[in-house]
């Protein structure tokens, strides 16, 4: 019995969404971890603080697990893209987008070689700062990998560096006018990379922080509490900086959308018709061409848009053929993301005020009890941010060039292995987080013994 191509297309979408959704859990925590390790080691050396030293050493073990599983998962995605969306990858491989992937692998080399030196040759360096500098290389490699892969996504949103007209008119057979390095800087690259980096760091920081918050509250060992407190202090500062930058970069990102992807902008803001004095709307829905229900703040959207971009007339869905509209659920995911981000901002503002008043919020049970649900919300907001970006581009895989349906492999031979991959990830991701904890706590016992 064969499965119809439409169902396989849906399955291909779901499989990749599931894989990348799982993968970014690892990526966000990896980025937060490696930055925490580097800062901890620096403070250990600078302040001669053995607690920071122990924290850096114990976390470096956790990072190896994170790197190992994350790398394997990254390769799964690279190969899965070829299997699920071969025509898309053919376009990628024929244009500058592949140069970005090549650059990403180079960054990956930097990360892996530095990581091996950092972890396995910790005491082989002549000076402590020399060893710490290697951690900076690990951070640089990790961040550069994230930057280059986000650049590929920016290129999918605003493709450049080849003749689109010739490519489409040739039935996706001829790629001409290739400028391989132009993919490094599309019109959306700067704002998207900025936003993705800080939100990824933020989500990972909150999740790692939740772990320390939980153990700080639970532990009765003064030495352990001192370590969790130090970790939370660093993570609290990172989270405050990252949430502020997330807001700024998110606003910048909306400005870029308004100019370069007006349809996506209209879908996110629920603009059914264009206008000059449009309100900001939350949690309503589009019914029969009109936005109904929810909350509106009159004139707010127009005000923000004019402030960010100078654009006075905002786009509406009615300007575009309905068959090119993304699923309008993106308006809701966008609202949850925005309101969730604001709630997290308020929590961290209170944390910041307490910090400034020297109330030690990183040791306050009140703050630490809230941190865990806040971390869940942060990860939800982060995942919804990606969902909004990807679903908001539908039906396109490469905006205004190739649809997902045109790119996909709809062979039903993918079904069984695809289901196995999903089941496998369902086991591996929780196991990975379980091992993070077990290894961190196991190191504790080794150190105490």
């Amino acid at each position: 019995m064969s499965i119809d191509p439409g169902s396989m297309l849906t399955f291909a979408r779901f499989l990749f969404a599931f894989t990348i959704g799982s993968h970014i859990l690892l990526v966000s925590t990896s980025i937060a971890l490696v930055i925490l390790i580097s800062i901890s080691e620096f403070l250990a050396i600078h302040r001669h603080d053995p607690v920071y030293e122990a924290l850096a050493r114990r976390l470096s073990k956790v990072f190896v697990i994170s790197f190992g599983v994350g790398t394997a998962s990254g390769i799964v995605m690279a190969v899965e893209l070829v299997g699920l969306f071969p025509s898309f990858m053919t376009l990628v491989a024929s244009t500058g987008a592949i140069v970005l992937l090549y650059a990403e692998v180079s960054a990956f080399f930097l990360e892996v070689l530095a990581l091996v030196l950092y972890v396995y040759y910790w005491n082989s360096f002549r000076g402590r700062y020399s060893h710490w500098i290697v951690s900076v290389f690990v951070v640089a490699g990790t961040l550069a990998s994230a930057v280059f892969i986000t650049m590929v996504n920016a290129w999918m949103n605003t493709p450049n560096g080849f003749d689109v007209t010739v490519f489409i008119s040739s039935g996706f057979k001829t790629v001409t006018g290739v400028e391989p390095f132009s993919a490094f800087l599309t019109v959306s690259t700067v704002s998207q990379v900025f936003h993705v980096l800080v939100t990824t760091l933020f989500a990972g920081t909150m999740v790692i922080g939740a772990y320390f918050a939980y153990w700080f509250v639970r532990s009765r060992d003064a030495g352990e509490k001192a370590m969790y407190s130090r970790a939370l202090k660093i993570l609290g500062v990172i989270a405050i900086v990252a949430i502020v930058l997330s807001g700024i970069s998110g606003s910048e990102e909306m400005g870029t959308l308004l100019v370069n992807q007006p349809l996506k902008y209209a879908a996110l803001d629920g603009n059914t018709v264009p206008g000059t004095n449009l309100p900001d709307r939350f949690f309503g829905s589009v019914v029969n061409g009109s936005y109904v229900g929810g909350i509106s703040i009159p004139g707010m959207q127009a005000l923000l848009a004019r402030f960010e971009t100078g654009v006075a007339t905002l786009p509406g869905l009615s300007q575009f053929p309905p068959n090119t509209w993304p699923p309008l659920i993106v308006s809701t995911t966008f609202n949850v993301m925005t309101v969730g981000g604001l709630a997290l901002g308020l929590f961290l503002f209170a944390f910041f005020v307490s910090f400034v008043r020297k109330r030690r919020p990183y040791e306050s049970r009140r703050f630490l009890y809230i941190w865990t649900p806040a971390a869940v919300l942060a990860m939800l907001v982060y995942q919804l941010g990606w969902a909004t970006d990807e679903v908001g581009r539908q039906p396109w895989i490469v905006y205004n060039v190739m649809t997902v349906a045109q790119a996909a492999n709809t062979s039903d031979a993918l079904l069984v292995p695809g289901v196995i991959i999903i089941l496998f990830y369902l086991a591996v991701i929780p196991a990975t987080f379980y091992f993070y904890s077990r290894v961190f706590q196991g190191s504790n016992k080794e150190a105490t013994a």
Partner: protein, 310 residues
């Protein structure tokens, strides 16, 4: 000469050499767990590098042969997905194993053995893929499909057996196991004979005078180890890896100028024009960075590991 093919094949050679050494170690973990320390000393700092070279090969392959991605997807996706599951299993189990402390039923031994099983099965999947890419058995380019039943010809099976014998023969060299010294030359010799036979069974055109290079190099490794006074040369891990990479690199006539049973001319599917120029530019820049990092790695590693820094 096709420079892009050479770069991609060089990346493959290093990746394959690293993977083969991991498979050798994995077999060692499965059959001789009590003497695992020599194997783990090698594998533990290296497995992350293997993965990175794997990613490097995949990406340079995408870059080099954009027109092949659709047929590869149609033909090999189920096999590739099995590969991917094993790949994650391998990475996850060794990452967990490295730092696990015993609590409950799960311990270091079980996790390292899971890694070993995943790696060995992964190796078998890779051998099936490689033999199909070389001889074309089981592959239908016209219908875009792969059949494991059609793959199972004499040539393919002998290819797998020959390669496994080579791995068994060379493993005592890599891990310097004098107790198995007498196994090295017979197993390596038989592996070489079966490998050459498999190429002949796949297609007589695969047997060119160039094939003498990998044959002689492989036998030389075995011979150098068999003689005690020269064994130190080849038991050096860096030397062994370098020679193994060269051996695999010298096997390129199996897939160039034509692969998949002489049905796929490589030059015709290689990227050209501005993309080819970009490929070389970024390879030079990336290669220099990699060389710098590897130099630092070798310089620090020469001082010896200082525990897992922990």
């Amino acid at each position: 000469m096709n420079g892009i093919f050479e770069v991609n094949y060089a990346a493959f050679s290093v990746f394959a050499a690293l993977l083969v050494t991991e498979i050798m170690g994995a077999v060692g973990l499965l059959i001789a767990w009590p003497s695992r320390s020599k194997v783990l000393d090698y594998i533990v700092p290296v497995w992350e590098v293997t993965g990175t070279f794997g990613a490097f090969w995949v990406v340079t392959g995408d870059f080099a042969y954009p027109g092949l991605l659709v047929p590869v997807s149609e033909i090999f996706t189920p096999l590739l997905i099995i590969f991917l599951i094993l790949w994650v299993a391998r990475g996850a189990s060794i990452a967990f194993a490295e730092f696990i402390t015993k609590r409950g039923w799960l311990d270091e031994e079980k996790l390292f053995k899971s890694y070993a099983v995943a790696t060995v099965v992964l190796g078998l999947v890779v051998l099936v893929l490689l033999s199909a890419l070389v001889g074309g058995q089981g592959v239908s380019l016209a219908s875009g499909s792969f059949s494991i039943i059609s793959w199972a010809t004499a040539g393919s099976v002998v290819f797998v057996v020959g390669t496994l014998l080579l791995a068994v023969g060379l493993a005592p060299v890599l891990f310097d196991l004098p107790a198995l010294r007498n196994l090295v030359l017979p197993s390596t010799g038989l592996g070489v004979i079966l490998s050459v036979l498999s190429y002949w069974l796949m297609s007589t055109t695969l047997l060119t005078p160039w094939m003498g290079v990998p044959v002689l190099l492989t036998l030389a490794v075995g011979a150098l180890y068999a003689w005690r006074r020269t064994s130190k040369i080849v038991t050096n891990k860096a030397v062994f890896l370098a020679v193994l990479s060269v051996i695999i690199f010298s096997l390129q006539p199996l897939v160039y100028p034509k692969a998949v049973g002489q049905a796929l001319p490589i030059d015709a599917v290689t990227t050209t024009g501005a993309m080819a120029d970009a490929f070389f530019s970024i390879t030079v820049v990336g290669g220099l960075l990699l060389a710098l990092m590897l130099s630092l790695y070798v310089a620090v590693a020469a001082r010896g590991p200082s525990g897992p820094g922990l």
